[in-house]
Symmetry: C2
Subunit: 466 residues, 2 copies
């Protein structure tokens, strides 16, 4: 069924977790099925990442419990009936599966409430993480006999910080898991998209083709495919447009590895196969933002600083082109550049594509030393803390021309001393460009994960086939 790391890794992870919590019981419920249009018609199952990290088992209805004081570890799981046998086939016993992640005690799922209630009666603290699915919130409310509101507010900040301190640093096995999927699936999908990009087809043809290629290898998406000739709409999930000569197709997609680690890559391809001069100028500026970032990323430097430096590279380039004016550092300090780059430079990546976002972006991405900016654009940076060896981040600079935002700011005369609104006239149909790689922080610097995927103008144009 599931693919697992070595037993020792799960033993070590749980041992370290215990060492970081002062006492009580850690409750890590796995995920249930997510209904589509009635209870038994469900979306593809996705296990909870925190449960996966500490208990590895990849099926619904499980819960992992760790008694911090006694060290006892239990997996609670469903007991199967004859009907299960007919509908879902012979299933491995929970005790045999738990043994693979070095948990020797298992109990039926219907005894979990009793176990927890007894612990509560002895005034033991129960640590759980913030639930992000309605089914999980309701389950916790039943198990702990609390209202939904109490459950939503009652998660354990201690557990959040302990889990984050482990999950944020990736070991070699985790890096390998991500790189294998990058090379075997995600890289192929982006090359396939460049091969098949051409005028006259719909975005859905490319989006479906790349998702289908992943599915043929039983590899699910890490997030909904963004495939759009309107790249200026950042989370554009519709695939209705027909590709036209002169447009740019942004493809932002990633997969889940067999153990559910994410990949996340973006490339931009000209629909005609050739970048126009205007497009090439902006495209190379996006690559310059990426290069300036990669030159600086290493342990000890904050990602907020890297974001700032990439923004200054952007401002410098746009001043050269004539779309902005003034001093690049002043531009970025003012926030004017966010008209063209209204999102963060990147985010943590791991078992989630935005790693640990369920634990709260500010808990994960910021700390006492690094507070989230309140400035439009930079406020969307999901991770601002110091880089450490073993962190994996996306680096995804982009430049967008968002007509409604340009019109709005222009009408408000916003940042008139930095933005040449008149020069923007010719860019209203430009769309957007984004290029994204997945980057590991090493002891001395960083490394782009996976084999190279066509990225320079020459490489993209050569991969285009039509």
């Amino acid at each position: 069924m599931e693919r697992l790391f070595s037993k020792q890794k799960y033993i070590d992870r749980r041992k370290t977790l215990i060492s970081k919590i002062s006492g009580g019981i850690i409750l890590l419920p796995g995920n249930q099925r997510s209904p589509v249009n009635y209870k038994s018609n469900v979306y593809r199952f996705r296990q909870d990442s925190n449960f996966l990290y500490f208990f590895g088992l990849d099926s619904e209805g499980l819960a992992g419990v760790i008694d911090v004081d006694s060290g006892e570890e239990i997996v609670f799981g469903p007991v199967f009936t004859i009907d299960d046998l007919i509908w879902t086939g012979p299933l491995e016993k929970i005790e045999d599966r738990a043994e693979k992640v070095a948990v020797t005690k298992t109990m039926p799922d219907n005894s979990l409430k009793d176990y927890l209630q007894k612990a509560l009666m002895r005034n033991r603290k129960i640590h759980y993480l913030p639930p992000y699915r309605g089914e999980k919130t309701i389950l916790l409310s039943e198990l702990l006999d609390k209202t939904v509101t109490d459950i939503e507010n009652g998660f354990s900040p201690d557990l959040i910080h302990a889990v984050c301190s482990l999950r944020i640093i990736k070991d070699d096995d985790e890096v390998k898991e991500i790189e294998t999927t990058l090379d075997n699936v995600t890289r192929q999908q982006h090359i396939m998209a460049m091969n098949n990009c051409r005028p006259g087809i719909k975005e859905s043809l490319i989006a479906g083709m790349v998702e289908g290629f992943g599915l043929q290898q039983d590899c699910m998406l890490a997030f909904p495919v963004i495939c759009s000739v309107h790249g200026e709409i950042l989370h554009n999930e519709s695939h209705e447009n027909t590709l036209k000569n002169g447009q740019l197709m942004i493809l932002d997609m990633g997969n889940e590895s067999p153990m559910h680690y994410a990949t996340d890559i973006t490339r931009t391809t000209p629909v005609s196969g050739k970048f126009t001069q205007v497009q090439a100028e902006i495209y190379n500026l996006v690559l310059a933002m990426m290069d300036s970032s990669l030159r600086l990323m290493k342990p000890g430097i904050s990602y907020a600083y890297i974001h700032q430096k990439a923004s200054e590279t952007l401002a410098e380039g746009l001043i050269d082109i004539g779309l902005m004016k003034g001093d690049p550092e002043e531009v970025v300090a003012s926030g004017a550049h966010a008209l063209f780059f209204p999102h963060g430079l990147g985010h943590l990546m791991g078992l989630d594509v935005h790693d640990m976002e369920d634990l709260g972006e500010d808990n994960i991405g910021y700390d006492d030393e690094h507070k989230r900016s309140t400035q439009f654009g930079t406020a969307f940076l999901r991770f601002g803390r110091k880089l450490e060896k073993g962190i994996i981040l996306t680096v995804e600079p982009g430049i967008y021309f968002i007509p409604t935002l340009i019109d709005l700011w222009k009408s408000e005369k916003k940042y008139e001393s930095f933005i040449n609104y008149n020069a923007l006239h010719n860019y209203m149909n430009f769309g957007g460009i984004r290029v994204e790689d997945d980057v590991l922080i090493t002891s001395t610097g960083n490394r782009i994960l996976g084999k190279p995927i066509p990225k320079t103008i020459v490489e993209v144009e050569e991969t285009y086939k039509f």
Copy 2:
């Protein structure tokens, strides 16, 4: 954005609904997004079918309200911010969208609680349907200020029966919607699967190929693809096996039309391209079960009776082959045939692949005249009532050899007077066969929907390409 029927259809549907409810307020909340591994990473959006049926609009966070006494109809929807503009693009105003389904009054979603609380203070009854997603249950609990348990138990049986009486009968537009998707997508996918079926590949290759083909046309699955050489595992959702000569590949899949009506077709292909004599014998018996069903299906006949007659055809055939013995009617009355056919002959199909299963299978599929059987196998029949013109059902007979079930019954000496356990020895690796079509009940009989999809042994073997 969404594809809609004529305004008049939504007017008529709501008018009929009002006429069937004696008073109070009907609350039909649409669906929210379903989180995968954190709140903002979501599965592909699927609108609630009941909301779609009466209000048509296909995006998240909406709610339809009908005041049965005053006749007032309101769509509650989100108010957009500048951030929405950047992340999801320019969005059509809710008042303009509501107008397309002939609703003239709209209100912001954050005023829905106030509206409902005022109604409750005036002792108005609020009718809602059973929620099937955790997020919806929590939303209703907040809106109506009730506990989760009260919400789960407080749905309106009157509304269930009123909605069912409308949705169960499909008009020509709905039939056309389903047939177009059958012809353009589902039929092509089954032919593609037969073309590509061959030894040495994994089930996931076929499953991913057909799902990808649908996605290329922006057409989502109606339910998770079943693609398996272990057809005897009825809801086998894993695609891990490698296809081997001598095995049978069951492909059970369907799509959602642009307006979210389902299709649901099953075919069985021999991996080698040729049915063995043993396989052909069983395959033709499955087709005989389908034929005997289609000969009988017409208004006034109960589907429980059709299921019984198909089971008798099965028993007759298995007696001829030597796997069963005795009188076919007695076999079926005893329930012994369910060893080979442990599921129902079919189910309603419409906006849901198991139409209206969220409203409760017994509410929809059974009535005072037709009670659900408690016998193993037949108990799984989802619809037992009398057929009416305009009902769409799947007809999906199957024959399976489930080793663990055979061993269990044999050890219990179950139905020894009807089952030749010794003769089953050679069938333990057989797997299973299922063939399924979508059938409309007409005024005089029935009609298989869509263009023919290869079904006879000759047709399937001719479609195989390897």
